[in-house]
Amino acid sequence: MGTDSMPAPQGIETGLDRTQELSRPGTYLELVHSWIVTVDHKRLGILYICYALVFLLVAGVEALMIRIQLFYPHNDFVSPYTFNRLFTMHGTTMVFLVGMPILFGFGNYLVPLMIGARDMAFPRLNAFSFWISAFAGLLLYYSFIGGVGLYGTGSAPDVAWFAYAPLTERPFSPGHSTDYWAIAILANGIGSIGTAINIIATVFCMRCKGMTLSRIPLLPWLYATVSFLVLVAVSPLTAAQAMLLIDRYLGGHFFDTQMGGSAILWAHFFWIFGHPEVYVLVLPAFAFANEIIPVFSRKAIFGYPAMVAASVGIGFISLGVWAHHMFTIGMTSFGNAFFTLSTMLVSIPTGIKTFNWLATLWGGKIRFQTPMLFSIAFLFQWVIAGLTGIMLSVSAWNWQLHNSYFVVAHFHYVLVGAIVFMIFAAIYYWYPKMTGRMLDERLGKLHFWLMVIGFHMTFDVMHFPGLLGMPRQIFTYEPDRGWTLLNQIVSVGGFIQGIAVLVLVYNLVHSYFRGVLAGPDPWDAWTLEWATTSPPPAYNFVVDPVVASRRPLWDLKHPEDPDSAFE
């Protein structure tokens, strides 16, 4: 089959066959049932994303309550007990019930499509993983009702998201709230490990013909790296939660300092999970950037092999840096020096990625649609987040910065400035593929600008109370420390971000019914998911695709200058 016999590129745009879901007759009950029993990777992906968005709103409200409490010194908007629950639940929810599910959701949806497969390697395992994660989320929030136990009134966990021992042991944390926390995270971990195994098996065993390892788009590559990290990093957390439960229910002594147990051991176990977890969350954000930035710059990604190597490199190095969360815990000077160096080393592959994105922009013809706006803001913010990361890796300075609001600002810069911004970009970019309709551009731009203003008001300013000695996780502060004005700016910014997210939610609902029809390839993109209808049929591709380069649709649209000629 020669290039002449291929359909013309214009053909892609006419190929609209709106979803069977919309055209299929049936009651709402049947519709709900079909979503519950589904093993289709696309539906599970959407379930993951919706689930995460719901919890994003919940945890966002928690964050705003925290910000109201901190608006004035000695404010009593909430009690100290409630405040501690709020930040514990905010952190736990954002990491385990928002970050992981939404990224797994996009992975579920996109990985099979981008490698030209008809489903994940194990569709039923996929459904199991989603539902056990969903159960974990509900269990965690059930603690608001059942946490204390038999007394009728419940309470959520209040031990901070890293739950340092021995605060979590029975004598210091009676009742059941900590048990809810531990069991929910254990269950969520099982779901994550299941999905990770599934993604690895999918990327390596389900590729379409011609898709050699060096032709896998960067997104599946990064998801494979992330999944490997989940396997080796989430498992220790699962083990540590099992130990905590042994302590709490069977009277074990793993973290019981009265019986010779060690508080440091928990810290090690938690951060062996906790730091790679940051990369578990940020690598998918990089993956989105790797897809979106080239398409809107109209250029191929710069340095594909380096990008793959850097991602895998970040994955490996991130396994050896965890104790930079523990510079103040009393390690030896040699230990501190080792983790300083290993942490600084992460910045090399990260730098390579940043410069490659810059080089991708360079010489392109950049289109500023909403996904690209979010990606550009991501680039600037990511640079700052990386540089404050370097500051924190300087262990001697870290003694001052550790556990202060500087750290809070730093990791929110990563989690919001990089990850949430890229998740928004991904939502704008792939929403047309998932629903068949475009998100409204005007609302999108409003969302973007509100988000940028709110984000910078909140998280730029948040660095300064930290430099002025404000520790994290305090329910109130003294008026004589010079933190008041800064905290007020931070709180106002938080509310602006809240409004921005509401604009997004409105846009998502509005555009689902009123949006412009997207067609299969609204962004003129190059990877395989744009070769099928929007939304794709259950079987994804009518004919199994065969590829000859990293950008099969580029080859199709530019038969005179195909990528495959250069490989």
């Binding site: 359909p7 390596f204 011609g210 130990m243 591709f541």
Partner: protein, 198 residues
Amino acid sequence: MATVPLQHATQEGEWRLPSRGMVAMAGLITAESSIFLIFVVAYLYYLGRDVQGPTPREVLEIPYFGTVCLLSSSGFIMLAERAIEHGKIAAFRLWWGVTILLAAIFLGDTGLEWRKLIVHDHLTIHTNLFGTCFYSLVGLHASHVIVGMLMMLVTMVFALTGHLRAEHSYRVKVLALYWHFVDAVWVVVFTVVYVVGR
């Protein structure tokens, strides 16, 4: 037109991919290894940090018999794998049965050891750090032996009812890989608990 058919003329020979069962099992083994690693680290870290007895040296006896049974089962399961590959169902049933039997003996041996520790030496998970770490680590391994044994029993039922044929040898191999992992972990646990820890 539902989709754009993407077909390229250049077919570079046969398109082969790794088997998803083996890749997934390798993934599971990676995850499980990390879990065991954490328990092993805890065990080693807490060696000799107890504030009260009994100590491992006082109460632990090396379970030679159970260890030999468990490790040799790895050999027998390989014989079973080979048998199913060549379609020799009768031989498969025999070797598979021997593997299950050896696993059961190992579990029984562990059970007797725990009985002695609890009844005679009064060492429970609550007694001290050693008790906590010991029962957790050995118990974690024993739970894996139980899971493996249950899966092998299900396979045995299929084999006895004639539902297992040579074309299923690939699935048997995936299960056997898990069993080899369980055995390999025992080597580590044995070294840590009975050699280094005593």
